[in-house]
Amino acid sequence: MRSEALDITIENRGSILWLILSGPFHIEQVPNIREKIRGFIDDGNLEIVIDMEDVVEVGDGVIPMFLNALNYIRGKHGDMWFVFKNDVVSKAFFQYKHIFSIYPNEKTLTSRGVIKTMLRRGVQMSRKTGIRLSRSVAIFLLFIIMGWFFTLAFIVYEQNKQIRKQEAEIDALIQWKENAVIEVKNLRNSIKPFKQLGLVKD
């Protein structure tokens, strides 16, 4: 029966509800799936992942239904993600790929943090360059690099301190000079009448 061709698996992985679909997703199944997703959201599942990697056909009303569901869950301050990389589903979602959060597999989805992104990047780089480092060497190199950075920062700090001290000295000298100039001027002014009287030679 076309309205029941899809196999559905629903499970929790951590706090996220996974909905794994498999088989042809005909338009006749849209109301059924919509009702299920709404039901899960109303039951308090605000983080839902829809795994469509094993979906072999995507009917016309499927994407609008997911857009609707995404709006609904975001209205409740939740979110929905999609996991697939097969051609059929990718083609169906192509126009909306900037709206939906789509990941090729579970591993990419679950490794969304900074550290996991870095690890993933590290794996990609090692594959690209062919350079492989053991953990101990990597930690040692990390210490060296961190050491360099700390040393550089320390030098900059010390130099900064030195410059500040010199600036302070220069300011003090400038201040003393200005004060001296004023005092000289005052002294000159004070002996000016004596000059005018010829009592003091210029």
Binding site: I10, E11, N12
Partner: protein
């Protein structure tokens, strides 16, 4: 002088489960007997068909002596796989894996990779030709009975083809030990005379002799082999014994033969079954076991880590063995409760291992065509329990696995064979949570007659919804129908809910009966669940009703009135099934007997939760309860046979 060829194929077999110690003893007795015969007849050449796992039980010294005979080209090994995979019932990849692993075991144990394959019960599938070629097999040995009648008398071999792949087929005359011909010389001469091909080509007479490793009677199967070996020395001038692999050097194939999908039900010549797949599925339970095996195989196929998978695969090979799926009467096969529960136990064990790897928590809901019959069913599972609900057939639970003990407690067999092959049907399957709406004056004896007007809810189509939270999973089934009471029809709406909470081994259920009309009526509502308990036959099942222990007399029905809790404890299987109901109800406990092979065999225990219900206008009646499954101490060991 031209001599025709005689291929003697000895095929030890075991249809039933036996303790490993007994298998070890039997296989060694067999090997010793074969060695005695070959020692007395140095020129005799034999062919041995074995599943590879038998070799692992042969004494190393005996095995080395057999290897010596093999090295002097007097013995050829033929394989049926690691076990005896049921090729038509199993996924291709699993059968291929079983056969390849079997060949690898042969290589490890006897330094020989068998080129011949003997499909168990001559279960032939045309598509297996490619599979066998890929596994390294060059020929297959089958019973003559699966060939067309017009070529069965030919004394030669054929080429079978499918999609461009070809393989040699050696048809053999198959005998069980109690039906072997007494005068072998005359029998062989008759076979040669009956051959329609009167040319000069070398003829092949292949005899496949089945030797039971576990004997049911006092007939000794070995003297006939001895007499055949003795006879082979008297007809040396006419016939010489050969290894099957040598025959293609002596003669060309007779021609091409297309063999459709078939099976020889009793392994012998007399009883070939062309529509065996349909025939097997007219039986109860075999389809459910097979679907479970295929589901486990599908999950296993996705695993990439080959190293971890081998111990699990070996368990699956044992579950894939053809003997688990054949009706072998009261002693073995799926018709025997112990054999059936053994197979379930292996499969549930594999599921548990896979479940642990996935680290899932809080339950899972699956809606899939699990029964592969075009209709979906709902599977609710957590770490401890797994239940399978057929919402199109009365919302019955056709399988209830208690995973902590690796048992299916709803695997009761009904021997009546249906005309149409169905995996599940009302008249056949003794499932769980089968609902009956009865007259309000119905008593336990009336219930056993199962009035027909109750089938609307018993096997009707229920609408369903599923709910999933972090901590649990629920399936809500509902149906609007009518009931006929006292020759009048009344509307009735039934809603039932099954729920699992977290990873607890507890199944919660709730029923709500609604009357949306202005007519009042009363009825008796009954929920029947039939449990498959191995301890019943051994007297190790006890009923505990509100802390009072009652002896279960399997010759009588038991009626408990107005109770809210009771337990059924099976200390043979180590499980306690504890019912807690929210309101007082009546419990009917009915032992289920069937007659198989002239014997009265107890199949299980039917537990009926029954209550009088009065539905006024627009009234609602509800019932809530819980079935908790707990482990109790096991008396002895179970499921450690092979």
């Amino acid at each position: 002088m031209k001599r025709d060829a005689l291929a003697i194929i000895i095929h030890p077999y075991k249809n039933i489960l036996v303790p490993e110690m007994n298998l070890r003893e039997s296989i060694n007795i067999f090997a010793e007997n074969i060695l005695d015969i070959t020692d007395k007849h140095n020129g005799l050449k034999l062919n041995l068909v074995l599943p590879a796992y038998f070799l692992q039980y042969v004494d190393p010294l005996t095995l080395s002596r057999l290897r010596e005979i093999q090295k002097r080209d007097s013995l050829e090994w033929l394989s049926s796989g690691y076990t005896e995979p049921f090729l038509s019932f199993s996924p291709h990849w699993l059968s291929a894996s079983n056969i390849k692993f079997g060949i690898d075991v042969f290589e490890d144990m006897v330094a020989y990779r068998p080129e011949g394959y003997a499909p168990p019960f001559s279960n032939w599938e045309p598509s297996m030709i490619n599979l066998l070629r890929n596994c390294g097999n060059r020929y297959a040995l089958v019973s003559k009975s699966i060939l067309p009648k017009e070529v069965q008398n030919h004394c030669g071999y054929w080429i079978a083809e499918d999609g461009g792949s070809t393989i040699s087929i050696f048809p053999a005359s198959t005998f069980h030990y109690h039906m072997a011909p007494k005068n072998i010389n005359d029998w062989i001469d008759k076979q040669v005379l009956a051959d329609p091909d009167k040319s000069d080509s070398t003829k092949l007479i292949a005899i496949e002799y089945f030797v039971p490793l576990i004997k049911k009677d006092n007939i000794d199967p070995y003297p006939w082999i001895q007499s055949l070996a003795d006879a082979s020395e008297t007809f040396l001038l006419k016939y010489r014994t050969i290894r099957l692999q040598d025959f293609p050097n002596l003669a060309s194939p007779r021609g091409l033969q297309y063999i459709p999908s078939t099976l020889a039900i009793n392994r012998n010549d007399k009883n070939e079954e062309p529509y065996f797949f349909n025939y097997l599925h007219t039986f109860d339970q075999v389809g459910i076991v097979q679907r479970k095996m295929m589901d486990v195989a599908d999950n296993l196929e996705e695993l990439n880590n080959v190293k971890d998978i081998i111990p699990i695969l070996k368990e699956l090979y044992l579950s894939q063995d053809i003997n688990r799926y054949m009706p072998a009467g009261v002693n073995g096969g799926f018709t025997n409760i112990y054999d059936r529960l053994w197979t379930y136990s292996k499969l549930i064990g594999i599921e548990n291992v896979l479940h642990k790897r996935d680290k899932k928590k809080g339950g899972q809901i699956r809606i899939a065509d699990y029964l592969r019959n075009g209709t979906k069913c709902i599977i609710l599972s957590n770490k401890s329990i797994k239940l399978y609900i057929d919402y199109k057939n009365g919302g019955q639970i056709f399988e209830l696995d208690y995973r902590e003990r690796n048992i299916n407690i709803c695997a009761v067999f009904k021997p009546k064979s249906e005309g149409i092959p169905r995996i599940i049907s009302f008249n056949k399957t003794r499932a769980g949570f089968m609902d009956f709406v009865l007259e309000d004056n119905c008593v336990i004896d009336d219930f056993k007659l199962k009035p027909k007007n109750t089938t609307e809810f018993t096997n009707g189509y229920f609408d369903y919804k599923v709910k999933k939270t972090n901590t649990g999973a629920k399936a809500i089934l509902s149906r609007q129908g009518r009931v006929t009471l006292d020759s009048k029809d009344y509307p009735l709406f039934i809603e039932k809910v099954f729920g699992l909470e977290g990873d607890i081994s507890s199944l919660s259920f709730a029923y709500q009966l609604s009357n949306h009309s202005l007519t009042e009526y009363s009825l008796r509502f009954a929920i029947e669940t039939t449990f498959s308990l191995l301890g019943i036959e051994k007297g190790l099942v006890e009923i505990v009703c509100e802390d009072k222990r009652l002896n279960l007399d399997i010759t009588k029905n038991l009626c408990l009135e107005n109770i809210t809790s009771f337990k059924i404890q099976d200390s043979f299987m180590g499980v306690s099934i504890e019912f807690s109901i929210q309101k007082p109800i009546d419990i009917w406990i009915i032992p289920i007997f069937d007659t198989i092979d002239g014997r009265n065999i107890i199949q299980g225990l039917s537990v009926v939760i029954s209550s009088k219900v009065f539905l006024g206008e627009n009234a609602v009646w509800s019932l809530m309860g819980k079935i908790q499954l707990k482990k109790i101490r096991i008396k002895g060991e179970i499921f450690n046979e092979i």
